[in-house]
């Protein structure tokens, strides 16, 4: 195969890949992060407590419970994943009522039935030992009780029914406190042993609260107590505003770069446009592919958040630099007395060595950043890594072939086209 055929082949290969990328980008466009489209982001961290140690198992259980709760909220495309040893990240894009969601997701929902030892001066009950917990719960639902007061009806499992019957028999005519997350909901007097396996929780403020409590009781208690380490709610229009501002700036920046390249490098500048176009398509295509792989492993995909958009703008600068290094190299070879034709041919391979090293260094930094980074920084680092892979790929298969092919045309006879003084 002649080198000319090789170059044609490699451009054909690139064009097919571009078409594939475009197809996948249109089919499954990268999703916007919630800093851009609005929604809620929470990081819940488990607290080490006597009696409730934070273990791998308890964290997995907590994750499971939270998943169930979020599913019941009916949010589309939630992201729920472990973060580090003892934290859980929950992202709910586009959620309407973040406050309510937060109260449901993070609630421990530890239901306890505790003996009452008496009351203090202010009339508050003094609690004794825990007689039973909400573990043996079969179902819970919101309802209205006497005087249309909101209540939660609970139903025990077979085992729970037996235990509850035992407790109510033993403590008949005494008070029994129903405690949810250390808060005494009510402390009624047991009139007679309850053997039907049903009980109600009263003392609620509203039917909304009853609904919430029923929901968290249904999904079971969290095995560990979770604190909100970080929460972020973004209004839908605020995110949109910053997206538009970022895009406007990005587009203007690209136009300036394009103008500069064509004024300074002439025909090379036009090649840069093509290269950058191919590069950007590959970058988004790769992003879609990586997201597909991540999701198939049950991991959260990378959303386009503000930092990742900044990363894209930066990596486009790096990609433009690869072209600049090659063009400057060609100019240098011409200055040293080589013909433009030879320089077109050899300039690439020399320039490539330079930015290969520079790219590898940036890649190392990004990889470490990705591994240790948290949240948005990871998206940023991933974009940098993907960008560098695309940059090397585009340079090797596209820029090189275009420059090589050019040396076969008669274009090189006119040095002005390349912004070069006549020499070749």
């Amino acid at each position: 195969m002649t080198s000319k055929q090789k170059y044609f082949l490699s451009i054909g290969f690139v064009l097919i890949l571009v078409a594939v990328c475009v197809y996948f980008i249109i089919k499954d466009p990268p999703k916007l992060g919630l800093d851009l489209k609005g929604g809620m982001h929470v990081i819940l961290s488990a607290k080490e407590k006597p009696g409730a140690p934070v273990t791998e198992r308890s964290m997995e259980q907590a994750l499971f419970v939270i998943r169930q709760r979020v599913d019941k909220l009916g949010v589309t495309e939630p992201q729920i994943e472990r973060q580090g040893r003892n934290s859980i990240l929950v992202q709910l894009p586009g959620i309407k009522n973040p406050q309510k969601a937060l109260e449901i997701i993070g609630k421990t929902a530890l239901l306890e039935f505790i003996e009452v030892k008496g009351t203090d001066k202010e009339g508050k009950v003094i609690l004794g030992k825990v007689l039973m917990t909400g573990k043996a719960l079969k179902n819970a639902r919101p309802s209205f009780g006497e005087l249309s007061k909101p209540i939660v009806e609970i139903e025990f499992t077979k085992e729970g029914t037996k235990k509850f019957a035992d407790v109510t028999t033993r403590y008949v005519r005494q008070r029994l406190a129903i405690v949810l997350d250390k808060e005494v909901m009510s402390a009624p007097v047991i009139q007679e042993p309850i053997t039907g396996g049903r009980a109600i929780i009263t003392g609620l403020d509203s039917i909304d609260e009853a609904k919430r409590i029923a929901l968290v009781l249904q999904t079971g208690a969290l095995p560990v107590e979770l604190d909100i380490s970080e929460s972020k709610t973004v209004g839908p229009t605020l995110g949109w505003d910053s997206l538009m501002a970022g895009l406007r700036a990005g587009i203007l920046g690209l136009i300036l770069v394009a103008l500069f390249m064509v004024i300074y490098y002439r025909l090379f500048g036009v090649i840069t446009w093509l290269t950058l176009g191919v590069f950007a398509t590959f970058l988004f295509g790769l992003l879609v592919a990586v997201n597909a792989i991540l999701t198939s492993f049950g991991l959260a995909g990378i959303n386009l958040s503000l930092p990742s958009i900044a990363g894209i703008i930066l990596i486009i600068g790096v990609a433009a630099d690869s072209s600049i290094i090659v063009f400057e190299r060609i100019k240098e070879e011409v200055r040293r007395g080589k013909t433009i034709r030879t320089a077109l041919d050899t300039g690439f391979s020399h320039g490539f060595k330079t930015f290969l090293d520079a790219d590898l260094v940036t890649f190392t930094t990004a990889a470490i950043l990705f591994y240790f980074g948290i949240g948005p920084v990871r998206g940023f680092a991933l974009i940098l890594m993907l960008g560098i892979v695309c940059d090397l790929f585009t340079s090797f298969f596209f820029t090189r072939a275009i420059l090589g092919l050019m040396s076969f045309t008669k274009l090189w006879r006119n040095p002005k086209l390349f912004g070069l003084e006549r020499k070749g």
């Binding site: 709610t233 973004v234 501002a245 900044a310 990363g311 990004a366």
Partner: protein, 293 residues
């Protein structure tokens, strides 16, 4: 056109020294303004339906004992409020009060618990140290040890300058700032490596000149590339800085300073330092004695 970069190294070192010193003093006396992500706290981003003055907002916040919050007007009818960490109920109360008084069009709230920030900072520091170790190793292997050390020095130079200017203007440091600083780290090395690559290429071809002279030639050879690359990267960043919206503005600000400094340091800091060090080697010392008077 040829410039003498190496011969005037004392001027460049002095210039860098002065900028770093000013930044250092700013860090000591003004301190760095860490965002709520590091020290914990609540950040409200509120867009009102009509123009609202900062003092009016502050007056409302006093009712919640939050009169001392940082209130920063941004964009159109929009303010950022930074205060101590509030529970989600308290946050709602603040929003409700402001909504009743001024009318809120849209809002975002971010809350970070006090312990969490330390966690993030630690993770970032670990990443930084590992980055540096990895890079020292890589450059030592691909190039040489003296280049690795001087490239890293240039990198610290850039990070110090970016931090110093941050302290000077008192902008808030967010995780985005850290991401930007780490980008500078990569970019600074990227730039230095392009120059060092040229030096490595020219070293075997050295004839009748000092090491410094050869380095100076190398810099001149890559100068057009350095300037053009900086320009093409700076165009989008300047656009972000001017019209990119508040969040991206912060990001662009660090990148702007960092990239300018990175271009500068690869030429004016790393290469002269390398020359100084290399010329202590007997071989290059004798060359220097031979060709410089």
């Amino acid at each position: 056109m040829r410039f003498d970069f190496i011969g005037r190294k004392k001027i460049w070192f002095a210039l860098s020294g002065v900028i770093i010193l000013i930044g250092f003093l700013a860090i000591i006396f003004r301190g760095l303004n860490f965002g709520i992500e590091f020290k914990g706290g609540t950040l409200f981003d509120i867009k009102f339906a009509k123009p609202v003055e900062v003092y009016q907002v502050r007056k409302e916040l006093k009712a919640f004992n939050l009169g001392g919050s940082t209130i920063q007007p941004t964009g159109k009818n929009e303010v950022l409020i930074r205060c101590r960490s509030l529970s989600s109920r308290q946050q709602q109360k603040v929003i409700k009060a402001l909504d009743e008084k001024f009318g809120i069009k849209d809002h975002s709230i971010q809350n970070v618990g006090p312990g969490w920030g330390g966690h993030i900072t630690r993770a970032a520091l670990i990443a930084l140290v590992l980055c540096l170790c990895g890079l020292l190793l890589y450059i030592s292997m691909r190039f040489e040890f003296k280049m690795a050390v001087t490239a890293t020095t240039a990198l610290f130079h850039d990070i110090l300058i970016a931090m110093g200017i941050y302290a000077l203007v008192g902008r808030v440091i967010t995780p985005n700032t850290i991401a930007a600083l780490l980008t500078i780290l990569g970019y600074s090395l990227y730039d230095t490596i392009v120059v060092y690559h040229k030096i490595m290429e020219n070293t075997p071809r050295m004839s009748k000149q000092t090491y410094g002279g050869m380095v100076n030639d190398s810099i001149n050879q890559v100068l057009a590339r350095s300037i053009n690359t900086s320009l093409t990267t700076l165009f989008p960043i300047i656009c972000l800085l001017l019209i990119g919206g508040e969040t991206l503005k912060d990001f662009a600000f660090v990148l702007f300073i960092g990239l300018t400094s990175a271009t500068y340091s690869s030429i004016f800091t790393a290469s002269p330092l390398l020359t100084l060090w290399k010329e202590t080697e007997p071989r290059y010392r004798s060359l220097k004695a031979k060709y410089e008077r």
